[in-house]
């Protein structure tokens, strides 16, 4: 005898029911948690920016942000100015850190749109940091970074992160041993913008030469490393005119 659950009509009804139940369950979960998730992302941005300029709770080897409950306070304390650079003009905007770099990149690809470039000016111990958010492609998915520079475009601190690089290999770009290598590296070489290359077989694995525009790559993470080089080169280049104006003033 045919079982009740084998009938076509039952199968179709079951499928419809299942879709409705699971669909509404997921929609409910997503919309009720959205506010909290967005808030977490906003705080994370603040933590990332602060991390790049050296406001963090690092111990000897780990990378630790200021805690989420202290982040907003620290952010308003250390970040003195937020700028949006568009078409060569820098305007203040207190919500510049909420600009979605990914969206700006896609819009800019479509022709006439001129990208808005966010830049945050931070002051800590009388030192001024210019922090820039950038975004690029790793092996599997997006990678991004917050790079803190001084007025000569020498890296003062950097925070890398990724969406889905391989654990243990490319994912290590957000580890101290990789990020700390960038501190002190020059982006310019003899007055022109050169970027920083993540290089295998670097002759300088201890990274003592800060003006070679090179840092040592992570073994097994070639594509992610190339992604980091490409991101630094193409994105930071857009800020060069702004840094030139800093010098002339």
């Amino acid at each position: 005898m045919e079982k009740r659950t084998d009938k076509n009509s039952y199968t179709i009804l079951f499928a419809i029911g299942m879709v409705l139940v699971v669909g509404s369950l997921l929609a409910f979960a997503a919309s009720s948690l959205r506010g909290k998730i967005d808030e977490n992302k906003r705080l994370e941005k603040q933590q990332n920016i602060l991390y790049a300029m050296g406001v963090n709770e690092n111990d000897e080897s780990s990378a630790t942000f200021v805690s989420t409950d202290k982040a907003p306070e620290a952010f308003s304390k250390y970040i003195s100015k937020q700028l949006v650079i568009q078409d060569g003009k820098a305007l203040e905007d207190e919500n510049a850190y909420l600009i979605d770099v990914k969206k700006e990149q896609t819009l800019a690809k479509e022709g006439s749109y001129v990208r808005r470039l966010p830049l945050f000016v931070g002051v800590k111990d009388d030192k001024t940091f210019y922090i820039v958010p950038i975004r690029g492609k790793g092996l599997w998915d997006a990678i991004w970074a917050y790079v803190a520079l001084d007025k000569d475009m020498i890296v003062q601190g950097v925070f890398f992160d990724h969406k889905g690089e391989t654990a243990g290999l490319g994912a290590n770009i957000n580890k101290r041993f990789f990020m700390d290598d960038f501190i002190g590296e020059h982006l310019m070489a003899a007055g022109t913008f050169k970027g920083i290359n993540v290089i295998k077989g670097n002759a300088d694995p201890l990274n003592k030469d800060k003006t070679d525009n090179e840092v040592d790559a992570i073994a097994g993470a070639t594509i992610t490393g190339n992604g980091v080089s490409a991101m630094l080169k193409s994105e930071l280049k857009l800020y060069v005119p702004y840094f030139k104006t800093l010098k002339t003033n």
């Binding site: 659950t5 084998d6 039952y10 199968t11 079951f14 499928a15 299942m18 699971v22 369950l25 997921l26 979960a29 997503a30 948690l33 909290k36 998730i37 977490n40 994370e44 080897s61 989420t68 969406k163 889905g164 690089e165 391989t166 654990a167 243990g168 290999l169 994912a171 694995p205 201890l206 073994a219 097994g220």
Partner: protein
């Protein structure tokens, strides 16, 4: 009285060795190769799979009498995908830091063949309690292998365990490195995971009498 009857206990212990999902059934290999370069990731993946497989098996088992057999595979997929997405959303809202460490694994869990395998082979034919035990048992068996492989790959490949250097400093040449020892960079590449898994299978097959085949 024992906590579990003998039959129930076997559901947990069997997949640990005699019927291990990775080494005997050779399921879930893809994730075992991808994420075992460090011990930490292995552990996180093991815990995630224990949770998803335990809960997923119970859900499928509860639905086993109403699932139409023609579309049962897609129903199983929807259950595991929905479960994983909900877990992901909840983590993002309440444990953001943790969710960032897990993000890579969340997607991998959906494609883990052990999960579909247990739904299909066990949960569809057994009650929720037994299905739960079976799910946890198989996920533990999977996790053990992940941790063994992760241990060797991280130790020999990077000289660390859970990110802590145990063999000395390779650049300053202290500890073992002072005697000319070098990290084997090859160990952190995925192919070496396959070789380590192969070695585990070899050891297991030659030691465990239940598995020795007669020719």
């Amino acid at each position: 009285m024992a906590l579990l009857s003998k039959k129930d206990a076997k559901l947990i212990t069997d997949p640990l060795a005699d019927n291990n999902p990775i080494t005997i059934q050779v399921l879930g290999i893809c994730s075992a190769l991808a994420i075992t370069a460090e011990l930490n990731a292995s552990l996180v993946m093991a815990v995630s799979v224990i949770f998803v497989l335990g809960v997923g098996n119970v859900v499928i088992s509860l639905m086993r009498n109403i699932i139409p057999s023609k579309i049962r595979i897609i129903v199983q997929l929807i259950v595991v995908a929905a479960l994983v997405i909900i877990v992901d959303l909840v983590l993002k809202a309440f444990a953001y830091e943790l969710s960032k460490t897990l993000s890579v694994f969340i997607g991998l869990i959906i494609t883990n063949c052990i999960i579909m395998g247990r739904f299909e082979a066990f949960a569809l034919a057994n009650g929720p309690w037994r299905a739960f035990l079976d799910g946890v048992g198989n996920a533990l068996g999977y996790g053990i292998i992940l941790i063994i492989v992760g241990f060797f790959r991280e130790l020999l490949g990077s000289g660390t365990l859970f990110g802590i250097p145990v063999l000395g400093d390779p650049i300053a040449k202290t500890g073992l490195y002072a005697f000319g020892y070098e990290n084997n960079g090859f160990m952190i590449m995925p192919p070496m995971a396959l070789i380590v898994v192969g070695l585990i299978i070899w050891v297991q097959r030659s030691k465990n009498e239940a598995l020795i085949e007669e020719n």
